[in-house]
Symmetry: D2
Subunit: 463 residues, 4 copies
């Protein structure tokens, strides 16, 4: 009934810092790659203040509205693009008003049993004002008793799925991470205060000192007495989403203390070992395919070149999909440096393939530029199952690797060949061990949580 | 705890009409005088669509967003100015999402026991996302059972105060008016469909044919089978807010089938009988003081002149209150035609006096223009008590007539004399009878409902 | 070749005043009725600063851009609506940059021989960047020698038509009025400084003290030594545009020391004498028809009522002309108070009729409201000739009185009868004498200047 | 007197192409790196249409305004950032209106003798409305006779400096390049029509086929009969600005048929030969330093890594220069991948150093990330002289290499060492020969044109 898939996004919070709203503004800029559709900040100086809007952080905030966000603690959110009317209603943080005490929340992740919970909540008296599944937790919390940590401990186990939450109250803040640790969330120190961020690149920007990651199934409370930790849930695993390493995170971030850049380079190295081919040049698809291309080239001993360039000014164009000029779209975003490709056997590396259309256009551009062969190497396994934890492919129908093997896919995208990194090599590149696993569900169908029959809005049955 | 005073505003709805969103757009323009801070429309074509924003109807809506509001029934709202951050959160209509069925609502009026209801609702599990008291009714309805009419019949008696509600569902609409009939709401026919409007001027604009007013304590349902009526509450009275006649409504509207223009003219005539004085010219303060000035002049046999002009382009100015140039503000809005005033004994008529500052500036301008005497006549009684039903004077502190008798007030505003219309004469002008009374609480302190100690956010004790 | 008809607009200037840009901002707001399409201000603090844009004064200017307009003298302009692309290029003031000295100019009026002058200037080396005829004077001035007054004295006699110019230099200002005095321009004192305004209502707003009108064929210079006057041209007449009295100016302004309100009231009185009829009520078309309606009613001894109301919030609507809903347009702007009209013989007064369509809709609305007869009285003579001096009817084709006598016109607009004020009575109402004449060209065809065969862009031949 | 330095920017034109305005819109997007301050398009469908504004192409143009730009030929312009009020007045193209025929022009480059020409033109009757030196050519052309080619041949030799002009008329277009060929301008074929672009990357985007470069001192006319060529001036040289190779152009463009990417890579190779040092890793400063870093690494046999990343979302921030948080600015734009730098001897390559501040911050970031040594290699010679042809360093005062030798500079920017590419090696990398020279004035002081004493607005004396 609802299209309640929440997208991957980014959260940032500061506690006990002067210029809390400005720091959060900068922090959200460093997380902007995780969501460009909308953003917002809630601060507290004893009472809560909010500003949010659609668009980039640099558009939504200005001197005036930042100045009104007074207080020394704050939480903020950047939201990934979605479709549909009245998007502003779904932009986070949300504020909930209460006689007891107001609070704000923001959420990175997606709740798998959102519909079941909503239905149950509605049947017992709750009413909802958005289609966001992030609103559910507020209702669940309302029905618990005790202090806020106790209420979190009682409510969070009811949520199935991926979640990294930040909560802001008048005098304190809370953070919580789902029991599988599907989404990243880390803690740092800044002066006498604290910073929380979806990625460690946010710490670097504001000169905060990394302390540790929030653990799966952990609740932390930050108040004037410092940080206290509690746990919730029973089946705790450390299964961070593999796509965080492969695609989402910035290469200068660290995930579970591993450099994202380094992991990506290693995927390329493993790919070179696994799927070597004769070639004159290795190129990567900017930006997330570049480190793997570097690794591949080094390992394979083939020269790496920056054969594809990204146009940093390519914004959205108003030209209609039906327009003859539509094909210009991809060229506005990516350009081939012909000089580096002409007459060459080319290996082109990307981080992943979802639908296959973009790679098809890239391959075509490489042939046009005079490539002699175009071998496509993908630095992750083939995606064959939808993600219900926040990644933007939520139905089987949209996945190309569901329908074609690599040989068929190569034909479809006009490439000489296509190879995918093996699951084992991905795990090796990510330095997994028994205490540091990956969610590999989209590659293997092995989901770390229970699934629900209504989960997929396109009615794909998951077995 | 909350500043939950809802201001007077305007609602408009259409059912079973082609171009429902466009008709509502025009209807809201005709009600724009009732609120300029924000506006919104919800339509239904089987599912609900919403667009809303801050500012005038002509700014918030454009061809594109009106075109997206598909469907043949719609409700809309214009909102009076308030203060505070994140006003957009409080702009109506609100939409409530549910597995059962989504619905939208908008509300004209103010709930006196909002804090008590909120507290009770929160204590039993409800959570709120706005500071608007209009959100309360959704929670009360949620807790009832049966069809929607039954739920309204169970929930509405819990609300104390003034309310004219419109509700929109996928296939039907509802309207409801409080048991004292404090706010106006009327029904009209348009082709095979229906129109609901806070004022009848909205019917004239869209060529709809007036049928009747919604009665105090009445619920009407409009669906494909037409209009059905139900009642709720026990102590039904017909006590429309006197300020609707005096100030809020457009002079071309009809309230309880009386022409607002005519009533205002009659207040002037009664004022002339009650408080005659020697004068050479009668002038009115535009726009709402003009009909009374006409009536006064006719009755008194003194010539009426348009001695005060309103500058139609005077918008808000960014000039600071602390600026030396601030005094220009009132001159930007009103100008004296010196020619009509110089050397004359002037009677100036306004509809009411709240704080006294504007009238002080007008009197000063008339002296500057060469008036020989300036007698101020007010076409309503002195306002001595706050209003808790939506009119924008909610504390005793801000009322000048609370602190001064007419002689002191004349001195304060620099006038030769000040007279107010008597309560009896106001009633006569409004053609009251036992079935058609007025709420006169702000003049007499005789409130038609129970009051609550927390009602007044400024802690004024009401006895 | 060019559509170089400049519309009627408004100019305002201050010299040697603190807050020059703020005063000009307020002054332009008081002249906003003379033009809503665009506006601009140039100030000087030794060097010139400019800001301009499309739309109302309150939209174009804000705290930030006013603060950047430093200096103690300023000129500003409000521009009447026109059509066509890139309107911003034509918004005034214009700035001309020069090694010698920069200057800014703005212009109210229209140059009849613009095409001839442009052609001659182009043939001898000038190039133009706008289609505005106000650019011509800069080129003519450039070709003269001597001080600026001498150059004005040499250049201005070449211009045929209507013009009130303001010029701003780094240290001084100039104003000039055409030899027929077709447009109003007055001078006032404010502290140690001076104010220039198209209308005296601008002086009232900023508390400046009226000194005198600029004379036809006069140049005044304002610098640190005060005001000095010079003359230019040979055939000086005092023939102010009659439409300034009838329509353009605000009723609280004074034209040649006569109250505009009073003149309009007198047109109504003369109309009553000249074209009396049996009636129960007199109503005026807001806003410019109201004073004449008052005068008519007094003289005729018939009661005056405010039977037509203007909706102050009716902005532009995006609804297409082809839309079924288009007819709502006029109703959004004007409403009939039925109560005052039903069953009555109505006299309706307007200031003028150009095309006849608006009056047709008003008459229809009055019949719908139940009028028994609708006699239309126009407080000016029938317009039978185009205006080449800035009024917005520049071709014979668009004038209804060109094609129909009053009897035919009454039929066309569905009225019982139509009467126009006679030319003699208009002159009497305006208190004309041999030294204070009117330009009556649009009523009589007696143009005060030579005309040029290319004048009319629609190729109407003027004989 | 004027600050008439025109910045480097970009021009694009199409002739005889359907969708001319859309093609130009895309072409300008591909040239967006050459200027982000403002942009505009003029089209002709028999008469000229214009739209322009401040900001990026994607912001200034939308479906509506592109649709109004009808016609099958067009010129467009992107403008580099400048300071000062009323920038819109200076945004190009300009349109000049004339009885004879309107035309539009846009200009990439800077006129050295602008002040002299302006003064002379003013003294003989011209008046200017902008401070742009591009307005001068219109005045010079006006004073010539004959057809437009003849007038260009007479007027262009008077201009001293850098210029690539596009002119649009109702039925034809013209292009012209200065006699030193300082700025790039190329011609391509698209269907039956033609495309002109500052860089060949614009051709790739719209699938136009490169024909040839416009020659120094060449005028080309494009009309329905095709392309015709003429020449002007006497001392023709082929001295393209070296900074076009080093910094301005996109790496996928070709300058004089050499790949810009390849040239930049060659600068790195020569730099490695000339200034080798012991190191563990080579990194480049994105984006323009990357190809040289690649070349350096290959030649030196040191591993290349992407150690510096650019944040693609780093827009302008409103945070004040005086703010404590200002230092965050550079971190928002560039990030170090610590993993690749820690414990390493680092060579960092950039294309050039102007003021030195950015490189100082980069070096500091590398030290912070744990670099053991930081050797800075610059892929161009030290800039010691201002540029008067459009590059954004127009006074000696702002150039750091003017004041320090490499040893002092290393100390200033906290680097282990600093090396610059030699002039000879730059020439070699650019494949110069006697028919294909470079303007090297900023490195050598050997200006290809006469200079003028007023050229430098900061009064730097050039010897």
């Amino acid at each position: 009934m609802f299209n309640s898939i929440n997208e991957e996004c980014g959260v940032f919070g500061v506690f006990n810092c002067e210029n809390a709203s400005e720091l959060t503004y900068f922090g959200l800029q460093s997380l902007q790659h995780r969501g460009q559709e909308g953003c917002g900040i809630v601060t507290s100086n004893g009472s809560l203040h909010i500003h949010k809007g659609e668009g980039l952080v640099s558009k939504v905030f200005d001197r005036d509205n930042i100045a009104k966000l007074t207080g020394d603690h704050a939480i903020g959110h950047v939201r990934y693009s979605t479709t549909g009317e009245s998007q502003l209603l779904n932009v986070q943080p949300f504020i909930f008003r209460s006689f007891e005490e107001d609070f704000g929340l923001c959420h990175n992740g997606n709740i798998v049993n959102a519909d079941e919970l909503r239905l149950e909540l509605e049947n017992t008296g709750s009413i909802f004002q958005t289609t966001s599944d992030s609103e559910i937790i507020a209702h669940l919390l309302k029905r618990q008793s005790g202090d806020f940590t106790s209420r979190l401990q009682a409510a969070l186990p009811k949520l199935v799925g991926a979640f990294a939450f930040l909560f802001i109250f008048e005098e304190e803040m809370y953070a919580a991470l789902d029991p599988n640790g599907l989404r990243p969330l880390s803690l740092a120190k800044l002066g006498d205060g604290y910073v929380l961020s979806s990625e460690t690149c946010g710490f670097t920007l504001v000169d905060a000192e990394y302390i540790r990651d929030i653990n799966p199934g952990e609740i932390i409370k930050i108040d004037k007495d410092g940080v206290t930790s509690a746990t919730f849930g029973t089946k705790i695993q450390n299964k961070m989403c593999a796509m965080e390493y492969i695609y989402f995170s910035r290469p200068d971030s660290y995930l579970r203390q591993d450099s994202v850049y380094k992991v990506r380079e290693q995927t390329g190295r493993y790919l070179a070992k696994q799927a070597k081919c004769e070639a004159d040049v290795v190129i990567g698809v900017p930006d997330s395919g570049l480190p793997a291309a570097r690794g591949y080239a080094k390992e394979a001993g083939i020269i790496y070149e920056q054969g594809l360039l990204k146009n940093k000014y390519s914004g959205r164009t108003f030209i209609q999909p039906t327009n003859e000029l539509r094909k210009l779209g991809i060229k506005l975003k990516l350009t081939v440096v012909e000089e580096l490709v002409r007459g060459k056997r080319v290996v082109v590396i990307d981080d992943s393939i979802v639908r296959g259309f973009t790679m098809q256009k890239i391959v075509d551009m490489l042939w046009s530029a005079g490539a002699v062969s175009v071998d496509v190497k993908i630095a992750s396994p083939a995606i064959v199952k939808p993600c219900f934890y926040g990644v933007d492919f939520s139905t089987e129908a949209e996945l190309i690797s569901n329908k074609m093997d690599p040989v068929q896919l190569a034909e479809f995208i006009h490439a000489t060949s296509v190879d995918f990194l093996s699951v084992e090599n991905l795990q090796a590149a990510c330095n997994t061990d028994s205490s540091k696993e990956l969610c590999l569900a989209c590659f293997t169908g092995d989901y770390p949580t229970k699934l629900y029959k209504d989960t997929d809005s396109a009615n794909t049955v998951i077995k």
